[in-house]
Amino acid sequence: MLALDNMLYFARHHQDAYIRIVLENSSREDKHECPFGRSSIELTKMLCEILKVGELPSENCHDFHPMFFTHDRSFEEFFCICIQLLNKTWKEMRATSEDFNKVMQVVREQIMRALTLKPNSLDQFKSRLQNLSYTEILKIRQSERMNQEDFQSRPILELREKIQPEIMELIKQQRLNRLCDGTCFRKISSRRRQDKFWYCRLSPNHKVLHYGDLEESPQGEVPHDSLQDKLPVADIKAVITGKDCPHMKEKGALKQNKVLELAFSVLYESDEYLNFIAPDKHEYCVWTDGLNALLGKEMTSDYTKSDMDTLLSMEMKLRLLDLENIQIPEAPPPIPKEPSNYDFVYDCN
């Protein structure tokens, strides 16, 4: 009955809007019309639910909606605003009659969100609703989905820790593969003559570093045979970076900051050094990681961290695909006691 009252009020007091809505929807031919009668009834039901109409007021509740005190027939006005909202949202969602419940869900969310801001008057409520169009709701939902991925519960953290070493192994493989492909380095001489090039690469069995001078920048892969010198990996004692490198300590060496960040050296035979200046940060990270890996040490470059992040987060997402929308317990549930008999009967497959 209340719904009919509301519809009547709407038709009488907001005639223009009423006429518009009814005409709009009755002339649509493509099954996308919003059913006025059904929506009014459902909407009235929903509003009563939201406002807890008919329930006893709670003693402890201090929530008041100021806007209901501003108008004599505030509930009916509230209804009018909401029915127009429903119509608007229906159009925005391009809904058909089968999607009725989904539209109601969206409208409910819109109303709830607008109400939590406690508007002081019905007009304010109306303007708040205008900001909560369907596209807004979609954006809000999307950001919630993104946040959903911020998994923090214990079982998930345990899984993360378990997978981490496997991913680290992948990163190590990648770094060593890159070393095997080799890189062209520049020799920076103090005499500002034409820069010379030299090339260094790891042998496929990871046991020897081949290197040698080159006349000009290479176009493709440089085969091992053309590189004159070798350094067995087993002889490498340490990897040194930055300002501790011998070629950075020399006077007259170009001490620009950029070069300092890209410099690294390999110490072998207790006092011999092979000095490198990487062409860019990426190569620097790859080489220092790779050399550390060969020495059995941890890979510590920035790229390792970001690669680990990328790979690990994707791996976690893939593993948890089947648990979409399922509540994951914070702590492991208790394990029941053993079953009293182990005579299992069903044994297919």
Binding site: D322, P339, S340, V345
Partner: protein, 406 residues
């Protein structure tokens, strides 16, 4: 202990000591917490794994992980979350399939397949594809999530499915995986549709896939409602009897469809092996010498089609050779041919499911040089080139039972 399957809720007869029945539960479930316990026969489970459950008892399920189906064990009820599933083909070869939109299932399995390849791309340092694929995978995970949450109206759901299929096809193509034929965005079951329809689907999906990679996201519908479903016709042939008189040799009869205008065979050959008495060589095949010529299009039916039966006998070199002789020396020799015009078939068969008997007369070649075109000669009735087999050798009739099936 007997291993019969137990109906749910019943106790196994004859064993009075069992107090609690094992309830049969056939379901898939997702593991929601890592499980490791020293309880006897307990499985080790990781969060996110999928398990299949066989039965339940006292707060424990018994089943196996889909990663290692041969190892069965128990795990607590509280550690898994059941998914609604359907069981098909109950019994030894049953499959338990989760009840969800097939696009979601396809997306899940494709993403997991790609995950493995994506890591390999990383190791091989294929940077460009690695980053693009990562982007696409994240997009797919989000789209899939939207579908699962189910808040969207129908129009939008369709849009999301279209988007998902475009991305899935992009990824499959760039990773060198098979292209999935689709109908209404869902993967087509190969056992349910005909070959020609499958071929058409492949072509149209390929075409749409290329469109969208060159033009960006085009709004072209892959399978609009106006798509014509190809109608295929099928022809069912059953060889009822082959009357053979005195030749007493094994024979093979080859049936095929022949287009006389283009002078070529348009179908494969259906071979029937007959013994000396004209019955099937394989005794189990009595009354079952039948074949189905499938996927004839309407265009095919308009051709000048003939059913041609070639008979090849195995035995002596020439029919009038002496019957006595080294028995192990067997030759495959052309014997004769019979034809039946499809137009005759169509005139007599009015109802599409009707079956009718036809008698085909077998004619032999006058001159063996003409064997390769004996069917043409019979069709054109060039009488000099063939003849009914001489009365010395009896009459040879081929009875067939034909029916066009659509």
């Amino acid at each position: 202990m007997s291993e019969e399957p137990l109906a749910p809720g019943t106790k196994q007869p004859g064993i009075m000591s069992r107090l609690l029945p094992h309830r049969q539960v056939r379901c898939r479930a997702g593991v929601i917490c890592n499980f490791r316990s020293s309880t006897c026969q307990a499985l080790v489970l990781e969060i996110g794994e999928t398990v299949q459950i066989l039965e339940k008892s006292e707060g424990w399920y018994r089943g196996f992980s889909t990663k290692k189906p041969s190892i069965k064990g128990i795990f607590p009820v509280s550690y898994v979350h059941l998914k609604k599933s359907t069981v098909t083909n109950r019994g030894l070869c049953e499959t338990v399939v989760p009840l969800e939109d097939p696009i979601i299932t396809e997306t899940t399995s494709t993403l997991q397949e790609w995950g493995v390849l994506w890591k390999q791309l990383y190791v091989k340092h294929k940077v460009d594809l690695f980053h693009k694929l990562r982007h696409v995978m994240n997009e797919l995970i989000d789209l899939r999530r939207q579908l699962i949450q189910g808040h969207l109206a129908q129009d939008q759901t369709r849009e999301i499915k279209r988007h998902i299929t475009v991305r899935l096809d992009w990824g499959n193509e760039h990773l060198g995986l098979d292209l999935v034929p689709r109908k209404e965005f869902e993967m087509v079951d190969q056992d349910q549709i005909s070959i020609s329809e499958l071929h058409k689907l492949h072509i149209s999906s390929r075409h749409c896939g290329q469109q969208s990679t060159t033009q960006g996201d085009s709004t072209r519908q892959r399978h609009g409602d106006g798509c014509r479903v190809p109608v295929s016709h099928h022809l069912f042939i059953n060889l009822k009897s082959f009357t053979y008189n005195s030749i007493s040799e094994d024979a093979d009869v080859f049936f095929s469809l022949y287009d006389t205008r283009e002078a070529k065979q348009i179908s494969e050959k259906f071979m029937v092996k007959l013994n000396k008495n004209g019955g099937p060589k394989n005794p189990e095949k009595v009354d079952r010498l039948c074949a189905l010529f499938t996927d004839l299009s309407s265009k095919d039916l308009k051709r000048d089609l003939y059913i041609v039966a070639h008979v090849i006998r195995t035995g002596r070199m020439l029919l009038n050779d002496s019957k006595k002789g080294p028995p192990h020396v067997q030759y495959r020799r052309p014997y004769g041919c019979a034809v039946l015009a499809m137009s005759d078939v169509f005139h007599t068969i009015t109802d599409l499911k009707e079956e009718k008997d036809f008698v085909l007369k077998v004619y032999t070649c006058n001159n063996e040089n003409e064997w390769h075109q004996i069917q043409e000669n019979i069709i054109r009735k060039s009488n000099t080139k063939y003849s009914a087999p001489s009365t010395n050798y009896g009459k040879y009739d081929v009875y067939t039972d034909l029916g066009p099936h659509v």
